[in-house]
């Protein structure tokens, strides 16, 4: 593999760009975010027309067996369009968690439905502490009648209130394990919280003895979940890249039109240099995401290091571009009607979820052995 995209990958990007521009324009983003839901027709089209849900799922589970590199391109493009749909949750979290377990039965239980666009899912990790360290997981899985019941609360579950299936990280007698629970199962209470970033749902989910199916072996998640988290961060970074680039483009386009003091504001050096700094952030993120997606595809040894680096890097780049996009728009940029704030809020929420820059810089130092 090399750090340039193939022609086929670039074609994928083009068709995705067109598809999402068509299916996820600002008006749709705003409609869906106000309703706290997603468009099931578009979701099915994503599967049927473009095969996006199954793109990186192995063929044996109904997918088309592409790699994380192609998946990152999808992440980037849907992030660019602020797609309001549980794509990140279903693909980068739930499906990836099951894949990383390496258990055929678990994969068979969830992936075919995801690949064909009939099942949505998410992964419930953190709890009320808001701590992303897997050691802080305390939700309990009790063996019962050949199955398990879950007891506890999960917080900040991405799209947790709108998906069909929940993959839940819980403490079983044999250690940290993943369980599959239907979203509408008895004993599951889901509250859709009002999110800072309205384009992505967050739920608090209470498990009060809900029936759950063990995925893979008891204790297996202790090994697999850190890998899944690292890959989810790479996917998120790809999404952040898409948003950062769009924010940069919005800013540059606007300044070329808007005039002040008899010139377009794009002709002012302060504006130009801000744009050049955005460009530098975007391009360095682009090459880093490409490398990261490759590391994820290869399960490379440096995946943990790259993931922590990217979490900080892409977050900083996205926030920088989104904040400066507002500044470069002037007054109109801080109105609700303009889309600039949607990117700002997505950027900040993406920066905070899974731990912020400082958390990941500390992780990075630790993972490097400093």
């Amino acid at each position: 593999m090399e750090l340039i995209h193939t022609d086929e990958q670039e074609q994928l990007r083009s068709s995705l760009r067109k598809f999402f521009e068509d299916k996820s324009p600002s008006s749709e983003v705003r409609r869906l975010m106000a309703e706290g839901t997603y468009d099931k027709t578009v979701w099915k089209q994503m599967a049927d027309q473009l095969g996006l849900q199954g793109l990186a799922i192995p063929e044996e589970y109904g997918g088309s067996g592409y790699t994380f590199v192609e998946l990152a391109i999808v992440m980037e493009e849907q992030g660019r369009a602020l797609l309001v749909a549980p794509y990140f949750a279903t693909i980068a979290l739930a499906a990836q968690a099951v894949l990383d377990l390496g258990d055929a039965d678990a994969a068979q239980a969830l992936l075919p439905g995801i690949a064909e666009g009939t099942t949505t899912a998410t992964l419930a990790i953190t709890e009320q502490s808001g701590n992303w360290d897997i050691d802080s997981i305390s939700l309990e899985a009790r063996p019962a009648d050949g199955g398990y019941t879950l007891h506890g609360v999960k917080s900040y579950v991405i799209d947790g209130a709108i998906v069909d299936q929940l993959v839940v990280a819980a403490k079983a007698p044999g250690g940290l394990s993943l369980f599959l629970v239907a979203g509408d199962a008895a004993g599951v209470t889901r509250v859709n919280e009002p999110p800072l970033d309205q384009t992505r749902g967050l739920a608090t989910i209470t498990f009060d003895g809900a029936q759950a199916t063990l995925l893979g072996a008891e204790g297996a998640a202790a090994t697999s979940l850190p890998i899944t988290m690292n890959k989810a961060i790479i996917a998120l970074a790809a999404e952040q890249l898409g948003g950062a680039r769009r924010a940069m483009e919005m800013a540059v386009e606007y300044t070329k039109i808007r005039e002040a003091f008899g010139r377009t504001i794009a002709s002012f050096q302060a504006t130009k240099h801000k744009a050049a700094n955005m460009f530098t952030k975007v391009e360095t993120t682009k090459v880093s995401v490409h490398y990261g997606s490759w590391a994820a595809a290869d399960n490379s040894d440096d995946l943990p290091v790259v993931a922590s680096m990217l979490k900080a890097w892409a977050s900083e780049a996205y926030f920088f571009c989104a904040a400066n996009n507002i500044q470069m728009h002037g007054g109109i940029g801080f109105t609700w009607e303009h889309d600039a704030h949607l990117y700002l809020k997505r950027a900040k929420a993406s920066q905070l979820i899974f731990g912020d820059d400082a958390y990941h810089f500390e992780q990075l130092a630790d993972r490097l052995g400093v």
């Binding site: 808001g130 800072l196 970033d197 010139r263 007054g331 801080f334 809020k345 905070l352 912020d356």
Partner: protein
């Protein structure tokens, strides 16, 4: 360390302290955090407190004691308070946790304009209504697409008998939702040069008078500003201040009016905010985190600089000196600071910052409302600080050109 303003000021401070202790209604201080920065926030307890009997009583006592618009000259109903006295009053109210009652644009801008440019009849009519709170003003200067070029007024004013009839749009109208009056710049002569055909009108700001007020919703969810359409809105010619076509000069009087007295209050508010941030860090167990401590120290340093700047401005006013060139850097400084402060705060909140507060009250709430928590609001609203009142880019131009004597941009056709 407290600024020693001399025996006279210290005596005044003592009097004010006693007066507040004697007159503040019981429980007033506990109704809400009167000192929190409420700009751009949606704070239910604050709105409710404004409706309370205690506030009404306090307001009434201040009115009777002449402590509303107290910096106005005595002949117009004020107390002739100077900047030092204003500041001392504001500081003592802050310390007692009770609100000052100010009349916003009416007090700071319309009143001074009427005093300077109005006839005796206009003064007699308009000034008492500001002091009493009967007339609450908002400012109708900005129009769509004119940015900071104020003189490009398009809103038309046509004289019709003894009335002026106004048609057009205004935007970025701060505090529009509480106002029943607007002081508005309108074009009354389309043939005259840009600055010469403008009139300054005090216009009833009501739906009955043909004003269609629409909230301009901000990224924080609040509608702090309005966007209004005027369709044949009318005012008596009596309401034109300074005479027809003389509005630019009147507007300049208004803009030039010194907003003193707020210099040291800003830092009191920022200091309080800082300690809230420390509390937040403690609540999240982050106060011993060395990286967070660096951020807290950074923030505190900024609060101190704002405090020193306020003390200096006060000292300058007390000494009868014009503020020095350093004043131009002030807006740049606090706006950048508050942006970064918001980022630090949501960073300390961590995952909690991903979720907003629940709506609990009735004020201007609609389905789809967006109600951030205290720090989220600072984080979001502060994005506007570096834009309004002249973007920070323009502030930097001003400093480099007017203070440092660097040349203007080549095609600087400035408005």
């Amino acid at each position: 360390m407290e600024l020693d303003l001399g025996p006279e000021a210290n005596k005044f401070r003592q009097e004010i302290r006693t007066w507040i202790a004697d007159n503040a209604p019981e429980g007033l201080a506990d109704l809400t955090d009167w000192n929190a920065s409420s700009f751009g926030s949606i704070d239910e307890s604050f709105d409710n407190a404004l409706q309370s009997p205690q506030y009404a009583e306090w307001s009434d006592r201040l009115l009777k004691a002449g402590m509303i618009c107290a910096s106005w000259p005595k002949e117009y109903g004020g107390q002739d308070w100077d900047a030092i006295q204003n500041t001392i009053f504001a500081e003592e109210a802050f310390r007692a946790g009770v609100p000052t009652v100010n009349r916003g644009f009416g007090e700071s801008m319309v009143g001074p304009s009427v005093m300077v440019n109005g006839s005796q009849e206009q003064k007699d009519h308009f000034l008492p209504r500001i002091i009493s709170g009967q007339d609450v003003y908002c400012q109708g200067f900005s129009e769509p697409d004119h940015g900071s070029d104020l003189a490009s007024v398009s809103t038309r004013g046509i004289i019709d008998g003894d009335e002026i009839v106004i048609t057009g749009q205004k935007v970025w109208t701060s505090g529009y939702f509480r106002a029943n009056m607007i002081f508005i710049l309108v074009r009354t002569d389309t043939d005259a040069p840009k600055h010469r055909g403008i009139s300054y009108v005090l216009l009833p700001f009501t739906a009955e008078n043909g004003v269609d007020k629409r909230p301009l919703r901000m990224i924080s969810g609040a509608a702090e500003f309005g966007h209004e359409y005027f369709d044949g809105s009318r005012a008596p010619i009596f309401n034109i201040i300074g005479g027809i076509n003389n509005g630019w000069k009147v507007a300049m009087t208004t803009l030039g009016h010194e907003r003193s007295g707020s210099a040291t209050i800003a830092s009191l508010r920022y200091e309080k905010q800082f300690w809230s941030l420390v509390d937040l860090a403690r609540k999240h167990g982050r106060d011993k985190d060395p990286v967070v401590r660096q951020q807290l120290a950074w923030a505190y340093s900024h609060v101190q600089v704002i405090r020193y700047q306020g003390l200096r401005i006060l000292a300058q006013i007390a000494a009868g000196k014009e503020p020095g060139p350093e004043a131009s850097a002030t807006k740049l400084f606090w706006s950048d600071y508050e942006q970064r402060l918001g980022e630090i705060a949501v960073g300390i909140e961590g995952a909690e910052a991903l979720i907003r507060a629940e709506s609990t009250g009735p004020h201007e709430r609609e389905p789809g409302d967006y109600i951030p928590n205290f720090w989220q609001n600072i984080f979001l609203f502060s994005r506007a600080h570096t834009i309004y009142s002249g973007t920070n880019e323009i502030q930097r131009n001003i400093i480099s050109e007017r203070v440092l004597g660097m040349p203007k941009e080549p095609s600087a056709a400035r408005g």
